[in-house]
């Protein structure tokens, strides 16, 4: 079935949440309301004429004014494919999880959360998959800046030099403190330090 026919079929079935059918350019896609995403996916999966049994790809695409989550679906039985899109808020992008319908979305959503920063409601275990826990920032966003340090490791030369300077200063201060103590002849045991 062609994408246009699939869209018509879905409309005929009375599926809620279909916003529009984008004819192009190039890849036609169906725009879906975020709240109704899971319903649409279920219908696409279960309906006899549609049978979209595999979610090939789940992408998060950051634009200037919005985020988009794009779902590429495939039917191994009926040999056709369709693209679904969801438009999300630019500040706090969030969409219901697709992993209830397609378990493969589990890892894809973790990756999208990790790299793009879209939250998936209802996801069983939404944590970063590539970057270590505790990483700040989402690299695929346009406004991403590499952090300066992570868990005690400096990530930029500037930061490294800053820390090395700090260490040197601390050592110098400690040495001075010891020297001044000795010079003052305090009532210590006279044991040499370290």
């Amino acid at each position: 079935m062609q994408p246009a026919q699939i869209f018509e079929k879905l409309q005929a079935e009375g599926v809620a949440g279909l916003l529009e059918f984008a004819e192009g350019p190039i890849d036609p896609s169906i725009l879906v309301e975020p709240d109704k995403l899971q319903e649409v996916l279920s219908v696409l999966k279960e309906h006899d004429d549609l049978r979209f049994d595999q979610l090939s790809l789940l992408s998060g695409v950051p634009y200037e004014d919005r985020f988009e989550c794009v779902y590429h679906l495939l039917s191994t039985v009926l040999k056709h494919a369709i693209v679904l899109r969801v438009k999300l808020d630019a500040q706090e992008p969030s969409v219901p999880t697709a992993s209830t319908v397609h378990p493969t979305a589990d890892w894809h959503e973790r990756e999208t959360f990790d790299l793009v920063g879209i939250r998936f409601e209802g996801h069983p275990d939404l944590r970063r998959i590539y970057l270590p826990e505790g990483w700040v920032g989402h690299p695929m966003r346009r406004d991403y800046v590499d952090p300066e340090e992570f868990q005690g490791i400096p990530l930029t030369d500037v930061k490294r030099e800053e820390w090395e300077a700090e260490e040197k200063a601390a050592k110098a201060a400690a040495a001075e403190g010891a020297a001044s103590e000795e010079a003052a002849g305090s009532g210590s045991d006279g044991k040499a330090e370290g």
Partner: protein
């Protein structure tokens, strides 16, 4: 075979938390599995990917279209030609061009040769995981032929950068076709050897048959594609069902797992589907060589400065590991807005937390080997 786990209530046992760490001979790369094992039986498994994460998708947002092609080689570094092809096809779809006939045939030849090479590595390293040292050397003996053929064509043995947007970079040198035919004969001659030493070996069958069986429903649900999906019994091949290049003109069989030595969808089936695909690829390359037309190798419609119109394209191709797709979003400029890569090994690996509990530690190695993952594309 699942061994029984009887818990003796009067003997306190403790589960061991093992990290099948990033440095491990059998994880096919820098993969880290966190496993809780009660003796030899696994009770919990989690996957920690990301040790090879180079954020190639971010790189794709910073480079022009032709500049990104060498990066695709580094994803699944064992099937560079296939990855090159996927990206070039997506961009060609955005531009609305098609490579000339000769380029299409050459592309098919390269892609199929790379499939043989990748399956040979899968075969060799799988035997090494199971403990047989010799088949690896046999596999690499044949792979050396292929890699030399690639070197004659594009100068590189592993990271080819051979496909251009609009065609291929170089034409076939003189004598290459004869060399290729010699290799194909040799590969067919050597193929039964692999079965004698490994496929029909009782110990290998004991280690892989009926181990980590994956049903077709699970495979489809978790996004499995390629030989792993076909081994679970699903008759689906992108080359036949969503044809690209010249596959619709070629005659080849799609091999599915039949549970010859155990159940459908066990490790032996996944391994066997790859072995059968080697023969099918030989067949495809022979047909291509016989029907190779003359002509250009690059279409003239692609300008030097590639600026596709605004839009998106997603093209699926059949990698040796599964379905590779490049979702390219263009905003009309020379630099893509988003390049999203669908890596088959990423999906194939996602079934691990579900299937590992209940297996023994030795089976983990058998299972991961049968998936044939490449960390370059899992981590991108």
């Amino acid at each position: 075979m699942k061994p029984e786990t009887e818990k003796y209530t009067d003997v306190p046992t403790q589960e061991m938390l093992i990290s099948m760490g990033p440095q491990h001979p059998a994880t096919h790369g820098v993969l880290r599995l966190v496993i809780k094992a009660d003796g030899e039986i696994i009770t919990y498994a989690d996957v920690d990917v990301g040790n090879l994460h180079r954020c190639e998708e971010r790189v794709g947002q910073n480079l022009k279209y032709p500049q990104f092609v060498p990066y695709t080689d580094r994803l699944d570094y064992l099937s560079g030609m296939n990855n090159n092809l996927g990206f070039c096809l997506s961009v060609e779809k955005l531009l609305g061009v098609e490579a000339p006939e000769r380029a299409q045939y050459i592309r098919t030849i390269m892609v199929e040769l790379n499939r043989i090479a990748s399956h040979l590595v899968a075969f060799g390293t799988y035997s090494l995981d199971i403990g047989a040292w010799t088949p690896l050397l046999y596999a690499f003996r044949e792979r050396e032929w292929i890699v030399k053929l690639f070197e004659q064509v594009c100068g590189a043995r592993m990271t080819f950068n051979y496909m251009k947007i609009g065609g291929v970079r170089e034409d076939l040198p003189t004598g290459w076709i004869a060399d290729c035919r010699r290799f194909l004969d040799e590969q067919e001659r050597r193929w039964p050897e692999y079965n004698r030493i490994l496929s029909n070996n009782q110990i290998f069958i004991k280690r892989t048959a009926n181990v980590a069986t994956v049903s077709a429903e699970d495979a489809l649900a978790f996004g499995w594609t390629g030989p792993c999906l076909r081994a679970s019994g699903v008759d689906f091949d992108l080359r036949r069902d969503f044809p690209y290049l010249v596959y619709d003109k070629l005659d080849f069989d799609v091999c599915t797992g039949e549970g010859l030595k155990g159940t459908v969808g066990d490790c032996w089936d996944r391994y066997w589907v790859r072995m059968l695909e080697i023969l099918q690829s030989v067949r495809i390359v022979r047909q291509c060589l016989d029907n190779l037309p003359d002509g250009d190798i690059v279409t003239k419609e692609v300008k030097k400065n590639i600026k596709p119109p605004a839009g998106e394209a997603y093209v699926r191709t059949e990698n040796p590991k599964g379905e590779v797709g490049y979702y390219v979003v263009s905003d009309g400029s020379a630099i893509p807005w988003r390049v999203r890569i669908r890596a088959p090994s990423f999906n194939n690996l996602s079934l691990i937390p579900k299937i590992l509990p209940g297996l023994m530690i030795a089976d983990v190695v058998a299972f991961i080997g049968s998936l044939d993952i490449v960390l370059g594309e899992v981590d991108r």
